[in-house]
Amino acid sequence: MQSIQRHMQSNSNILNELKELSPTLAGLPRTNVFKLPEGYFEELSGQILLHVSKSSSTYSVPEGYFDQLSGQILSIIANGQQQNEVREEMLALSSTVAAIGNANVFRLPDNYFSNIEQHIAVVAETASASAMVAAIEKAVTYTVPEGYFEQLADTIMAKKDTTRKLVSMKSRPFAWRYAAAAAITAVMAVSVWFSLNKNVETTGTASASVYKEAQEILVTNSFDQEMSTISDAAIVAFLEDKGQNVEAALVASLTDVADASKLPNATDYMFNENALDEILKTLEFND
């Protein structure tokens, strides 16, 4: 009761205040012009709860899931019916074959489909630069010795712990010339060194004019040019005549340029006749 009295008193105060401020406004009837949908407040709490439960859900479905669901279910049913029909047909024809099932036994190469895609991309890209190059058949032009790949793993396994660089003796026609050059340089250098520095009389097959010429060649660094004018056979014959190990000379020529510093120089040859052979110890040969 006291609360109603307080409320009425408050309303009366507000009306009096408004009359003082604007008698016109205070004279207007106080009616609510806004309308609410019917039953709004009855449904409000339910709608709020639904909204809260939706937003706090821990599960989600892919976009459009429910739109496609019925179609998917129908498709599964149709496929199932089709499979059943095929199975029943096969059972009627042969129960043995039907029992085997229809699992796929074939395998595709790894990455088959991505490789196809890549192949198409490369052909298209090449053709955009040159249709002619893109059209060339990628036939294998090179061949390998028979059985090469079958033996390769074993060959490598046998050599895997080597600390030497593998080099091949075959198929290096120019190497002979270079090899001989290494050995002849030594022979000439030793001879010239003796004749010039030690003033020792030279012996053997070489004449004084040959040594003079050799000196000129060494001084002018024209050794390579001079060498190119001599045939391989003549070089080999010369080396053999001088008692040089031709094979060792060839091997020396096969060392890497990076390892060239390891090759003996002229004075090494002079003081150690096995200098070149020692280089062999740092190499390992393929057949």
Binding site: Q118, A129, E137, T141, L152, M157, K160, T162, F174, Y178
Partner: protein, 183 residues
């Protein structure tokens, strides 16, 4: 024994002392042909390719223990094969130019000397044209044209940006076309 082990499984086996050698043999067998052909197209001659391939696999054996598994084994081996081939060619070039007259035509001569060479066939002309390319561009062309390697992988093998590789391939194709049409 399972013959379809992937690289991760092979690397795991390589880490075990008991299975180290068998795992390595499998790695060789799995990749030997692909790597051989990549090297062969670079160096042309079989004996040279054999040297480079064997030295490359020996390097793999010595360094596989330190291989970081966040990279692909296949890409890593291609990188070694490419670098070994380029180093080999560089050495041949330096050797021939420093001591011999045979310089520019070194690889073309080797190609023509191949017992199967047939200059009338377009595929051999293509190989001759490829030998005219600078070595690194040759690697780009071979990896893309013959091995159909995606640029993303090639970028890891050659340590070059994809954009630069695409441009290099485009120029290589143009040069090859020009060589074939005008020689």
């Amino acid at each position: 024994m399972n013959t379809h082990l992937d690289d991760k499984e092979l690397l795991q086996l390589f880490k075990e002392e008991a299975t180290k050698e068998s795992a390595y043999t499998r790695i060789i067998k799995k990749y030997q042909e692909k790597l051989y052909w990549h090297i062969r197209r670079m160096v042309v001659d079989h004996d040279d390719a054999n040297d480079v391939l064997q030295n490359m696999f020996i390097k793999v054996w010595k360094n596989l223990g330190n291989f970081r598994e966040d990279s692909q084994l296949y890409t890593w081996m291609y990188r070694i094969a490419t670098n070994e081939s380029l180093t080999f060619l560089e050495q041949q070039k330096r050797r021939s130019s420093s001591s011999l007259s045979d310089d520019d035509g070194y690889l073309s001569n080797k190609l023509v000397a191949d017992k199967d060479f047939d200059g009338k066939k377009l595929e051999w002309k293509l190989q001759l044209a490829i030998q005219q390319l600078p070595e690194k561009q040759k690697a780009v062309f071979n990896l893309r044209y013959f091995e159909e390697m995606p640029y993303e992988e090639m970028s890891r093998v050659l340590e070059t940006s994809e954009g630069a590789l695409k441009a290099s391939y485009h120029h290589a194709v143009k040069k090859i076309e020009d060589y074939i049409l005008n020689r």
